[in-house]
């Protein structure tokens, strides 16, 4: 019983905090139709900036996290600018920034990692204030962060600017015809997406007590898995549902991985299981239609 509760609570924390990353990925991959690899670099960037500012600069952890958010936004903006100003493809722009960020992160930390064990963090601040600790502390902090971004994004994506961003990923010709600068929209979206990813990185580094230059490896696949699972299971339509589905998908993905590890899956199989999970999630809507006897159009590349 205890281990069930434990698996659920750990997954809940991870679902909330990695949910921010999933939403960032959703903004670029889905909203903008821009396969953005920057996040493999902006995730550890967030961790590196926050950890360095806290451990070496003695900065307030909240402020350090905020700076990490802006650092992520800047990284995303560079990707967007490479794409719109230099006409480098989306995939390549993200790849270039991701590669460059590896050195940037090493330089920021003057090394491959920084420990936060003896430093003040957002988690310790909240823990002292509310007198809680352990996994519930992690959940509370992650939930506050998730709620803040959930409400901001739910509002923003329904504003005039937010609507133009959403339209840009769907039909650029129409968006330009309606007088909106699609190039500007691309840069805004990649900036917001990577701001979210970097924030997730900053929070996770503070919770695990260290920041590591390698902590971004594979986050695109993990985020993609979460988004796809959320879409397949919840079939969200409205903005509110879409954002909630990203958190829900991340939670379920994390729960699955946690349970698999506990029942004895060797850790080296983690990626293989993730890959299988993505295929499974993609197959659900397909199978659903097939079982319902619906006609299926021929396969396309998109």
């Amino acid at each position: 019983m205890d281990s069930v509760v434990n698996a659920l609570t750990v997954s809940l924390y991870e679902g909330l905090v990695f949910g921010l990353l999933s939403i960032g990925l959703f903004m670029t991959f889905r909203v903008l139709d821009f396969p953005d690899l920057t996040m493999e670099g902006s995730f550890p960037l967030g961790g590196a900036v926050a950890a360095t500012l806290i451990a070496r600069g003695g900065l307030n952890p909240l402020l350090a996290t905020l700076v990490a958010l802006f650092a992520g936004a800047a990284a995303g903006a560079v990707t967007g600018l490479l794409n719109t100003k230099l006409r480098i493809t989306a995939l390549l722009s993200g790849l270039i920034v991701m590669v460059g960020l590896y050195s940037v992160n090493l330089n920021i930390m003057s090394g491959a990692n920084i420990s936060l064990l003896r430093e003040n963090t957002i988690f310790k601040m909240v823990g002292n204030a509310l007198n809680i600790s352990g996994i519930w502390l992690s959940i509370v902090v992650a939930a506050i962060a998730a709620a803040i971004f959930f409400f901001i994004l739910r509002w923003f994506l329904q504003t005039e600017i937010g609507l133009a961003l959403r339209a840009s990923g769907n039909n650029e010709q129409m968006v330009r015809g309606m007088g909106a600068d699609t190039n500007k929209n691309i840069v805004i979206t990649t900036a917001i997406a990577n701001a979210l990813v970097a924030t997730a990185g900053a929070l996770i580094a503070q919770n695990q007590g260290f920041s590591d230059v390698g902590m971004g490896i594979g986050v695109v696949v993990v985020g993609l898995a979460a988004v796809i699972i959320g879409e397949a299971l919840f079939r969200p339509r409205t903005i509110t549902q879409i954002l909630l589905a990203a958190f829900g998908g991340t939670f379920i993905y994390r729960l699955f991985i946690t349970v698999a590890l506990r029942v004895g899956m060797p850790p080296q199989d983690l990626r293989l299981v993730t890959a299988a999970l993505v295929v499974l999630a993609l197959a659900i809507p397909f199978a659903r239609k097939k079982l319902a006897g619906e006609w299926l159009p021929p396969a396309t590349r998109s």
């Binding site: 923003f156 329904q158 504003t159 005039e160 600017i161 937010g162 609507l163 133009a164 959403r166 339209a167 769907n170 039909n171 010709q173 129409m174 968006v175 330009r176 015809g177 309606m178 007088g179 909106a180 600068d181 699609t182 339509r237």
Partner: protein, 277 residues
């Protein structure tokens, strides 16, 4: 200051456009076109395949700039080298393909919200407000398609004709200085094409919109509009308005084409298709 009425809605001055320059495929899609469109003009533009009609509309909409030396003035504003999204302040457009004019993933009301902000600065206000929703309903009702009751339906669930009618409303809901229609009923079945054409005519007259409509259908070109322009090999070869336009017949058009283009027309269907489409 000259009276506003005397400034043409749109002036094209010596506009040329060359594609694939300095290659074997070089095409002069527009060849020194000068055209004044006056306020209230309702122009039907006809011409054979590849005569430069779409290129003409694309240059006006700012999809690409004309060759050096050409000028595009909209209400006396030089927009020649402005990007497409800045032309949008003056220009409303309906494309041939119903999927180009609308966003399939967004709802009807979200698409219309994009449209009411054409040419205006977008801010952090709610995109679909209560008052906007009311005005969307009013704008959609005259279509008689029941779209006003489906404001929250994704546009991807509409038929081609419904999407084209919605595109028309989107292009005109903020009154454009010029409305550009590029064979906007050509992708529809004949009956739906007829309905959308009638709606277009209704909206253009009701709102007294200045319109430039490309069509391949000579009957449409004769029945609708107050002026007729014929394109051939990137040039404007024939331009009539008023009573002369009203009295035109298909044989008149053929004769005009033969005379101006200096070519024999073997078969009307090869160049100016008169069949429905």
């Amino acid at each position: 200051m000259p009276d506003d009425k005397h400034i043409p809605a749109l002036r094209m001055v010596d506009v040329s456009k060359i594609f694939a320059r300095k290659t074997l495929d070089e095409v002069k899609a527009l060849d020194g076109v000068s055209l004044d469109i006056n306020e209230g003009d309702y122009i039907c533009m006809i011409g054979s395949n590849g005569s430069g009609k779409s290129t003409c509309l694309n240059v006006i909409a700012g999809v690409f700039p004309p060759e050096r030396g050409g000028k595009i003035l909209i209400k006396d504003n030089d927009v020649t080298n402005l990007p497409e999204y800045q032309h949008a302040k003056y220009v409303g457009r309906v494309w041939q393909d119903p999927s180009v004019g609308t966003c399939a993933r967004l709802t009807i009301e979200e698409n219309l919200s994009m449209a009411v902000l054409r040419g205006r600065t977008r801010g952090l206000h709610k995109a679909v407000s209560k008052s906007r929703r009311t005005s969307f309903k009013e704008a959609l009702e005259p279509l008689g398609m029941g779209l006003e009751n489906r404001l929250t339906a994704p546009v991807g669930t509409l038929s081609g004709g419904q999407r084209q009618a919605l595109s028309l409303i989107m292009a005109t809901i903020t009154r454009p200085v010029v409305l550009l229609l590029d064979e906007h009923v050509a992708a529809l079945d004949p009956k739906t094409a007829q309905i959308v054409m009638e709606l277009t005519d209704m909206v253009v007259h009701r709102d007294n919109i200045t319109a430039l409509m490309v069509t391949h259908n000579m009957e449409i070109a004769l029945r609708y509009g107050s002026r007729l322009v014929m394109m051939h090999k990137g040039k404007c070869i024939f331009d009539v308005a008023g009573a002369r336009k009203a009295g035109l017949t298909i044989p008149d058009l053929m004769k005009a084409f033969e005379k101006e283009a200096g070519e024999m027309l073997h078969d009307d269907s090869t160049l100016l298709v008169s069949a429905a489409g």
